[in-house]
Symmetry: D2
Subunit: 231 residues, 4 copies
């Protein structure tokens, strides 16, 4: 089941909105005028200044809502550990898992013996799940037999500051492949709407020129393109 | 100095966005399809259901950003105690308070003797502030002499769930007049963009039919109009 | 695998600490004196007052840390959705799942046919997991085959206000059996250290005398004993 | 009015508690055993490892509660902007400000002309406040005339992770003198209870060897002693 990430909604004109909020802090302009007459070069300058000094609180004023299909419950469990965010996830208590929908890690699918084993157990688990429903079990209990790789759907909202934190953590090569892939797709979508806010994003190796991990991966990113390509 | 509240930005189509997120939780629709083909009556039904059952987490997916002018530092100190929100406030450390700008409580301005006293001390405090700046003091220290009622400017972002909590707390008659007035103006603006999400909002007397305060005010609200009129 | 809940640490003397903080808000006592000379009956009175009026913010000053063994990943996924809390969970990326450890829902274990099915698939899944490790797969990927019911270990810290919210949500009969059982054990432990703070806790039917769910369970709790007995 | 900072309560044995939580994440030990048999050298090693790699989430399991007297409303307004914390502040709505209690910035008190000006206006403001109360005004409205420097009392709870963030922001030389002094006193108290957790704390110049401010102060800290001495 392939992953799908859709930017469902976002604060309009995010770059301008953040610049307007930042402008209020340091000038004598009235609040109602902050968004008026702000020039493109000012927006760029304000955001650059906030980024370089790490004063990211104005980034919180713009939010991005993603509709995500086809990630595993392994990945969603990691995702919802980010607490500065809002989630609506498809319920396995109330929605029956009619069809077998599982995420297969690439490392498993590239090994025929492993893939065979994986596929066989997934099928047996799903058969057992359906059988239990037939025998009168509740979906919320029958699901205990479904594999961790089972697919889920989730709507996620994060503001641009939290997104930067999320991208710093989850685009690092030490993050697991699935949440890295999710983060990469979220970043690509967010950049289309807020090119300045996300002109630079990702792990510390790229954004701070330095790795703080105790066991660095040894392959630091040097360009945004590398991060976006996912290689 | 009169208060001014401007809705600077918000998630587009808030009612629909919340309904789409809620729909994902309880149905087998794909995430990319949740916002498509959702009918007006479904939006109304979903939101009504969430409201009545108190399952407000999908309300978090839509955010509202207000630019606020002309509230006192008394009011902004109360406001920023709401932690599920984002703030950018005009700095008194970096921006000089050139003109006397103060919020006068109506109870003071309606009493000529009190108003005279208030105005005289405000003027003396501001004169002292300016004199200190002339004598080389930093604005961040000179401001210690400015009155609590001094005006400030702030940009605030809250999501619709937190707004409901804010309105429940701050539209209660036991809240202070200034933050009540602010909350009322914010609610009026939010309702224009999200009539369903905010069809009902305010203190428990109105929304739950019951007051939980240990010392009730004795004048429970019975209609939304009363809350919005501020009387 | 049986559940085990241990109160690992907590703010000492929680009832007194909360009362001291509340006392500061409404009296002219100095901060350094708030904890001194506060009598037992005052503690009881202050906490009763906060509870009845719903002013729970002083409850945030005391924290409880639980070490939890033997809950499923189904349950931990629900648990970590509570964002006003801190978590340290055993990593399935770095720790190998050597032994089969699974939580079996009582509804499944009480039906011999279902239990047989469940046990067989669990065994096959774990065999497949171990085989994949032998074939050189990473634990973080091999775990995609483990069932949702797999056991995990987690340390959780919540303050007393969030605990009340958690108990209100998760001791409701509409919560799933496993997280209800976890919440019940946490409440029993917390009550030993903070009898006043948790003299009353649980779903709205008990604490507010009213259910706000759209589909009430029909069996409202009427005493604390019922809630604690888990029946 | 002199500042006073008292550590009212904290999670017992904070270094050990954090190490125990961290140990659970990366080993196969049972949750109930994590705090047993953990040796002093392990505690030191675990915490050092968490610090150096920036994996600070286990630091959240221990909380510190401070009772603070004698800070200005300028300082408390800055303080409560830290949202990952809990606050109980003395109410100016319900407690009458009988005596003149004001914080005088050292830069003002060291200049006799300025100090004379400051003291005179403070006295007039407090006289006006008392006069308004006599004339029947509510304390919550009369306080609009009190200076920003007026003293307040507050109880603050932060966990050790948030404290590190707070110390990084507020022990920087670019923070205002009053909140720097407060942060310094909080750090001194916290170190007595958790010497390992706070063996190193403060601004990036000290902890990361680098300043990220757009306008560095030019006087980076090089030792913990310098930070603690407040010079």
């Amino acid at each position: 089941m392939p992953i799908s990430v859709l930017l469902l909604a976002n604060t309009p004109d995010p770059d301008r909105t953040v610049a307007a909020a930042a402008r209020l802090c340091y000038s004598d302009v009235s609040a109602v005028d902050i968004a008026e007459g702000i020039k493109s070069e000012d927006i760029s300058r304000f955001i650059g200044h906030l980024r370089s000094s790490g004063h990211l609180s104005p980034f919180e004023h713009v939010a991005f809502t993603f509709a995500i299909d086809g990630i595993s419950r392994v990945c969603s469990h990691q995702l919802v550990r980010h607490r500065m965010a809002s989630y609506s996830q498809q319920s396995q208590r109330y929605v029956h898992m009619e069809e077998p929908e599982v995420i297969t890690p690439p490392s498993l699918s590239s090994n025929p013996e492993v893939l065979g084993l994986f596929t066989r157990v997934v099928t047996e688990a799903h058969d057992a799940y359906r059988k239990m429903l037939e025998l009168g079990m509740l979906a919320e209990d029958a699901r205990y037999i479904l594999p961790h790789g089972w697919a889920t759907k989730i709507v996620v909202t994060m503001n641009a500051r939290e997104l930067h934190h999320f991208f710093a953590m989850r685009l690092c090569r030490r993050a697991q492949w699935e949440i890295r892939d999710l983060a990469r797709r979220m970043l690509i979508s967010a950049r289309e709407k807020a090119p300045l806010l996300f002109s630079l994003a990702g792990p510390d190796c790229l954004t701070r020129g330095r790795c703080f991990e105790s066991k660095p991966c040894g392959k630091p990113f040097s360009t945004m393109e590398e991060v976006l390509s996912g290689c």
